[in-house]
């Protein structure tokens, strides 16, 4: 593979945003018939690089060469035309349009100048089938699909454009192992067909399974390129973060699960057809994980606790006393002291154009104000504490939070809740799209908070995380708790088999119940 002629080359690409150097003389070459992984910390410049490739961002300097000719893309459409297709994370599906509309969106089939709906549907069905999403109805609106299905649609959409170079920017970060496996098959097949694939992910195991070639980015430069498998995980991570890399998960305390006083308790919670008689307890100091395939009611369960769902049946108890939580305002109230790190930090956790400061203190304004007036000194003190505690990397407190890298944005979301010193912390897949270094900090923080007495309920799509962090894991299937794994029972095998709702050892991947 090393000898193959590059299909596409980037030379000396630089891009600055104000004072930030997103890319600094970056180089990359892509060969047909191979999968090229790009690794790097949050903010290393990976997304910017591929945005340049895909015509979304204009570089300040540098050249791009396709098939030996220098190219310049004025828009994503131009890049598409040249055969470069990119799957951006969550950014490029139009929510109010149907799946089929979205799949053909850049070049719909037409008859007499009008879009040919029959042809469109055929193309969509084919593409969905190829992407392994044949269960998705082409007429469904994208906004009605769960995240994991949307990712499938993204992939189908990319395939429908007949790419020569296919770029996936964290395309699997919202998917569970089963879906990932399906997609991997597709990607491998595409490689056989001679496509060039660029694959960005923070999941090392995925890269190990998939990549032929790897390039590591740090601070906007490509710092190393190597054939996949030629370096150990630890070496790679050290390249990425530029420092020594120690053990990723903090040790779990050894103790009996029963001795924790229950802080948060659910009794027979049911809601619509998404939650089915869920009962659980989370004790002080305990980290309880929620496992299972994505979309089995885990998110709804967290929302139910947080007062977002209406028409809930069953009981929620705090410190053993039943409470009615009718809104997030009630949930964060001192009597309950709950915090939720939501699913999507960009639309649910943060107000991107507002400053880091404003975002940090937003959930604690009531505490920081006297008679409605914000005590700015107190605000500053608490913010300084939090920025220090979580090591939030930011050019200042008065820049828009949207200018921070993904990982640091996530830290801001967590910090804003820690400012209230919550006793119950609900986390909805908090490490999505976050680099290893930051992840490790989060795991340690979680443990520290638990040790300080917090009750933590933690949903993750990453099984390693559940295994590494949780004292107990509840596996959900179709809205019900199918299995409770405690301590040493929490293994990958147990997680997967119970996620698929099978108990035998011959567990093969099976289609998840999802629409």
């Amino acid at each position: 593979m090393d000898g193959a002629v590059p299909l596409f080359r980037m030379e000396g690409i630089s891009k600055r945003y104000g004072g930030v150097r997103a890319l600094e003389k970056a180089e990359l070459s892509v060969t047909p018939g191979s999968i090229h992984a790009i690794l790097g910390e949050n903010g290393a410049g990976k997304s910017t690089l591929i945005k340049v490739m895909a015509g979304v961002v204009a570089p300040d300097e540098g050249r791009m060469i396709l098939d030996g000719n220098e190219v310049n893309f004025a828009s994503p459409a131009a890049a598409n035309k040249a055969g470069i297709v990119c799957i951006f994370q969550e950014l490029s599906l139009v929510p109010e349009l149907s799946v089929a509309d979205n799949i053909v969106i850049s070049d719909p089939p037409t008859r007499f100048g009008m879009i040919d709906r029959k042809a469109q549907r055929r193309i969509a069905e084919e593409a969905l089938a190829r992407a392994g999403g044949a269960d998705i109805h082409p007429l469904a609106l994208v906004k009605d699909l769960p995240l994991s299905r949307r990712q499938m649609v993204e992939i189908a959409k990319a395939l429908a454009r007949k790419p020569r170079i296919l770029i996936l920017d964290e395309a699997t970060s919202a998917l569970t192992a089963t879906d990932v496996a399906k997609i991997f098959e597709v990607l491998k097949r595409l490689r056989e067909e001679g496509l060039a694939l660029l694959y960005i992910s923070h999941r090392m195991n995925e890269i190990a399974e998939l990549a032929d070639q790897c390039t590591v980015f740090r601070n906007g430069r490509n710092v190393a390129s190597y054939a996949a498998g030629s370096k150990s995980d630890n070496e790679v991570v050290e390249l990425m973060i530029g420092r020594e890399y120690s053990h990723i998960f903090p040790p779990k305390p050894v103790r009996a699960a029963s001795d924790a006083a229950p802080v948060l308790e659910a009794r027979k919670l049911s809601w619509a057809d998404r939650l089915d008689n869920v009962s659980l307890t989370v004790g002080a100091g305990e980290v309880v994980g929620l496992g299972g395939l994505d979309g089995q009611g885990q998110r709804e369960l967290l929302l139910a606790f947080f007062g977002v769902l209406r028409g809930l049946s069953g009981q929620i108890l705090i410190d053993g006393r039943p409470v009615a939580i009718a809104s997030p305002a009630a949930a964060r109230d001192d009597r309950v002291g709950m915090a939720l790190i939501p699913e999507d930090r960009k639309t649910e956790g943060l107000m991107l154009p507002m400053t880091v400061r404003e975002n940090l203190s937003f959930a604690a304004l009531d505490r920081l104000s006297k008679a409605g007036v914000i005590d700015r000194a107190a605000e500053q003190r608490l913010i300084d504490d939090m920025v220090g505690l979580l090591a939030i990397k930011t050019a200042g407190l008065d820049i828009p939070v949207g200018a921070l890298s993904g990982g640091n944005q996530q830290k801001v979301v967590i910090a804003k809740w820690l400012m209230r010193q919550p006793r119950i912390i609900l986390l909805n897949d908090p490490t999505r799209g976050i680099d290893v270094g930051t992840k490790q900090e989060l795991y340690q923080l979680m443990r520290k908070l638990a040790e300080a007495g917090a009750a933590i309920l933690f949903y993750s799509t990453d099984y390693d995380e559940l295994i590494g962090c949780c004292d107990k894991v509840l596996v959900l299937y179709d809205g019900a708790v199918k299995r409770e794994l405690v301590g040493a029972e929490i293994t990958e095998r147990a997680l997967i088999s119970s996620a698929l709702n099978i108990h035998g050892e011959n567990a093969g991947p099976r289609q998840g119940a999802d629409a």
Binding site: S75, V94, D101, G113, M114, I115, R117, R310, G311
Partner: protein, 326 residues
Amino acid sequence: MKDWRYWLAEQRGTLLAFGIFIAMFVIYTTNHPAGFTANVVQTASNKGVLLAFVAMAQTLVVITAGIDLSVGMIFTLTNCLASWLVIGTGIETAFGVVAVLGTGLLCGAINGAIVIYGRLQPIVATIATGAVYFGIALLLRPFPGGSVNEDLADALTGRLFGVVPASLVVLLAVVLVVWVPFSRSVLGRAAYAAGSSETAAYMSGVPIRRGKFAAYALAGLLAAIGGLFLTFFTYTGDAAYASGNAYTLFSIAAVVLGGVSLFGGKGSAIGAIFGALAFRTIGDLLFVFDFDPLWQPLFQGVILLIAVSLGAFALFRVRNRLEWFL
């Protein structure tokens, strides 16, 4: 789910508007002293169709997540222009019609250019262009007056075969010639996509600027068709500020009643047409209920309030409060 269910879900707003309109119109005609006669239907349709054109215009822009507060003024301007040009021999009249429609298209294109290429917020940009269009209308018609080819006017506001209001037929033709091709074209889809999520559309290589531009320009054209029809209906041109403004505001109400989302990306001009017809019927109901004249404006206001609140009932079905926020 079966295919038709998806279709139904997509058409819900339109069907609801249709239902509201039918219900109101039935109440109206069954209580009308003259009853459900060709005359009554013709009167209602002539009046309704005017707003329907303006509401269709508004729909196009609203679909792109914009708003056009100048539609009423384009309507007024083209009315004034038509009262000069749409007159004379067949050829002259035809030329006049083309000129009037072209002017509307141009006004819409100017709006589009300012909003898209000038990157201004549509609300203020169109408040400002609306003032300009009205100023020009006033230059054309400092006083109400002028004239129009009355044969054409009578034909288009009259009845076909003695029963079918010609205005409805024109409306249908416009739907078929303007709306249907647009909504199914690549540009139309671009307009929807831009309205639903501009970033996503851009990233997907959708021609958003062209799509939006086409929507604004066609909105101008549709408003001009409305203006032309106003001229047919009144035989004159009139640069009436209050009436231009009223049509703009009514068009927004009609669009919402018609199930078009003001947030963009969703809804259809067909829905807006029924929204417009329903809105007009509110006024007609005054005939059939014997209200004290001074209570009539209040009655109309209350009915409007109730009509726009109807959509809120869907809220009680929402079980996940996050759905409040789209």
